[in-house]
Symmetry: C2
Subunit: 185 residues, 2 copies
């Protein structure tokens, strides 16, 4: 019989939990979601935001937690929208991002996720994962959410991939797998 490990995932986002549970169960780790509303700070680096949140959440729930912070960084836009991807998605949306990119030849972008693990009163550990790709000229595909329809890898947008297909290459998968290997070490 396999002994299952257990960890609290501090997040308000159900979809992140489902995605993470799917990935971590293969590594014998189960998750409980706690929506404790930890403060997300303003910072250019996802690591900084995840570390602040994980410390706060671990102190608040008084047990070890993981948090996730993710974003898309567009090279021609100096990394915009980066840590503010969720805010930019619901204010500007993909059509306006494409408008900003209209005359840009450099279409390189990175989608990144940082998982941060923290025990109460201990220093946190971060696990980054990323995918390199490019920004399309139009929205393509119906799967996923957020920037998925305008971010392509090998000529297929994340929204043109099934969940399983996306999960095999995703930034969050990479970050979670790094975390799981370290956690099970």
């Amino acid at each position: 019989m396999v002994k299952l490990m257990h960890i609290v995932f501090a997040t308000g986002n159900k979809h992140k939990v489902e995605e993470a549970q799917h990935i971590l169960l293969k590594k014998d780790i189960t998750l409980t979601q706690i929506n404790c509303g930890y403060p997300e700070i303003q910072a250019d680096e996802l690591e900084e935001i995840a570390v602040y949140g994980a410390k706060w959440a671990a102190g608040y729930v008084k047990q070890p937690v993981i948090v996730d912070d993710s974003g898309i960084f567009i090279e021609a836009l100096n990394g915009f929208p980066g840590p503010y991807s969720a805010y930019v998605q619901y204010t500007l949306g993909n059509k306006r991002i494409l408008k900003l990119m209209e005359n840009e030849k450099n279409r390189r972008a990175i989608v990144k996720s940082v998982i941060c693990y923290c025990k109460p009163d201990e220093e946190p550990t971060t696990f980054p994962g990323l995918i390199k790709g490019t920004i399309t000229h139009s929205e393509r595909g119906t799967h996923g959410f957020g920037f998925d329809p305008i971010f392509k890898v090998n000529n297929k947008t994340l929204a043109e991939m099934t969940i399983e297909e996306k999960n095999t290459i995703s930034h969050r998968t990479k970050a979670l797998q790094k975390f799981a290997e370290w956690y099970n070490r």
Copy 2:
């Protein structure tokens, strides 16, 4: 002899201190700048960011403080860039904001500042100030900073006004004056 009141302004921004000192001295309040690097959280409302920062800063410096949070809210862009105005200014800049606004007929925008006063272990008080204006079709003027060249009030951009002229109508002046009246009450 007038008795001067004194308060700590928690900010990393020298220009904000100079501007505030100029306004508050007329109300017999002097300032000391402390750059304590309080955490700025991600939130849609400036009030929330200022309150979190002021509580933290008051606890950190162990005396009453004020903090300021400001931003420009463009109606056609669902309030973007709002609390992330500084980040958007150094990643996208004014030219790209104008590109986003190219075909927008609704050019209304609000420039807002929130001053938050907090004593250690007490609940903070906030003082908002705002200017209503519109987004121009091109950059105009050389004074000021940030979004000043693309935000106009009565057909003059903030960057076409002298500092004195801007100070008589500014969002930060309004917020600071409200604070001063309350502080001297």
